[in-house]
């Protein structure tokens, strides 16, 4: 009876402990996450004060996160109304970025890889984008070609926008980011 109890305790402890640890570090942890409008960032992932869950997540794959002084990576999985980004829809990205020496905006899958599309364009850098009179960003993401700055999307399924700001003063105090200072992602229509 005692042996049975002991083996039950050990099985429960090891099973639940290992499973919960695996689950906690399989994805980017909710700890230390910063949500600004549609964009999500983990500003502490590039600093010395990285939390143990993020550190374990980074150690489980070939990750080279941007350092705190180097830049900031922002990920969007939803548009500004909170609906998940879908390849069957068209999106309009407008607005500005915080002061940076350079930025890139990319369309990726959930793992951060570019999609294999017939057209070899997965993103824009700040030098490549065509600006309007107000010098803001205005890009349309969709499956079919669009006039102006066009980001091709996969035919269907979920995707992410990744905005990377390089050498930006905001990376040190990312918690002061406001939704107005980042590009907005608006849904135009869906097929």
């Amino acid at each position: 009876m005692r042996l049975l109890t002991l083996s039950y305790i050990i099985a429960l402890g090891a099973g639940l402990g290992l499973a919960s640890a695996h689950y906690a570090v399989a994805e980017r942890p909710p700890l230390g996450r910063l949500q600004v409008g549609s964009w999500t960032a983990w500003p502490r992932s590039g600093g010395r004060d990285v939390d143990p869950y993020m550190r374990a997540y980074l150690a489980r794959g070939v990750h080279l996160p941007l350092g705190s002084g180097e830049g900031l990576e922002l990920i969007a999985e939803r548009d500004e109304s909170g609906q998940a980004l879908d390849g069957r829809c068209r999106y309009l990205i407008t607005g500005t970025t915080p002061t940076t020496r350079g930025w890139t905006l990319n369309v990726t899958d959930a793992d951060g890889h570019a999609f294999r599309l017939p057209l070899e364009r997965s993103g824009f850098t700040d030098a490549e984008i065509v600006r309007d009179e107000s010098a803001g960003i205005r890009a349309i993401a969709g499956t079919t070609p669009e006039a102006g700055n066009w980001l091709p999307l996969p035919i269907r399924g979920r995707f992410q926008f990744r905005l990377r700001l390089y050498d930006t003063p905001i990376s040190g105090h990312a918690s002061e980011l406001r939704p107005e200072s980042l590009p907005r992602i608006g849904r135009i229509d869906c097929r």
Binding site: I9, Y57, H63, P65
Partner: protein
């Protein structure tokens, strides 16, 4: 007496039955209590296992970037991770516009000096500890006369160097302490236009990392 006998004979099994049901109830309650106690102990153990596992993953992981790129840049010059010839895993979540070169370091032989010449393209240097996490990051805006230079060392090596410093003399070198002996120096150059890529690759590969002394 004769009237008692049958009643006594009848009452005896009833008492025994009651005793038996009592003991069954008791047994069930002790079993439940024991089960609850064991579950509680299991949950406490699960919490300990969870914390220990999360803390051990960075120390034991063999899939992290520092292990994957351990062979790169040991010759004193940074090497591109995007090189098609090497059979290396690509860094995850990497920006396609970035050119990344890596120098792996092992401080057991002594401190390492990292020297980068800056150009017109944005360059960032960062120190990634073995087991995940950025220890230090610097960009080309901190360059002095077009050169970005720092020395990576452990805390003990820093103490040694401080002891060796001449009194009253200021040292020019920037000293960066790494809390692990192994890790990576990552040089990233942003190629804003596809035509910038050769320049960016030359800049990233131009980062020198050799023994400091």
């Amino acid at each position: 007496m004769t009237t008692f006998k049958p009643s006594h004979g009848v009452s005896h099994p009833v008492v025994a039955k009651a005793k038996r049901t009592m003991s069954w109830r008791q047994r069930i309650t002790t079993a439940i209590r024991r089960f609850a106690l064991a579950t509680l102990a299991g949950l406490v153990l699960a919490g300990i296992v969870h914390i220990v596992t999360v803390l051990l993953i960075p120390l034991l992981s063999e899939r992290d970037a520092a292990t994957a790129y351990a062979a790169l840049g040991t010759g004193g010059q940074a090497e591109l991770v995007t090189a098609q010839t090497a059979d290396l895993p690509a860094p995850r979540d990497a920006d396609p516009a970035l050119v990344t070169a890596v120098c792996s370091y092992d401080l057991s032989a002594g401190p390492m000096r990292v020297v980068a010449r800056v150009g017109s393209l944005p360059l960032g240097l960062s120190l990634h500890r073995r087991g995940g996490g950025v220890g230090y990051a610097i960009t080309d805006r901190a360059a002095i006369r077009g050169v970005l230079e720092f020395v990576v060392m452990t805390a003990e090596q820093l103490d040694e160097r401080l002891a060796r410093d001449e009194e009253g003399e200021t040292t020019r070198e920037l000293r960066v302490v790494s809390d692990t002996e192994q890790g990576l120096i990552v040089a990233r150059v942003l190629a804003k236009l596809p035509s910038d890529r050769p320049d960016a690759e030359a800049m990233a590969k131009g980062v020198a990392c050799g023994l400091a002394d």
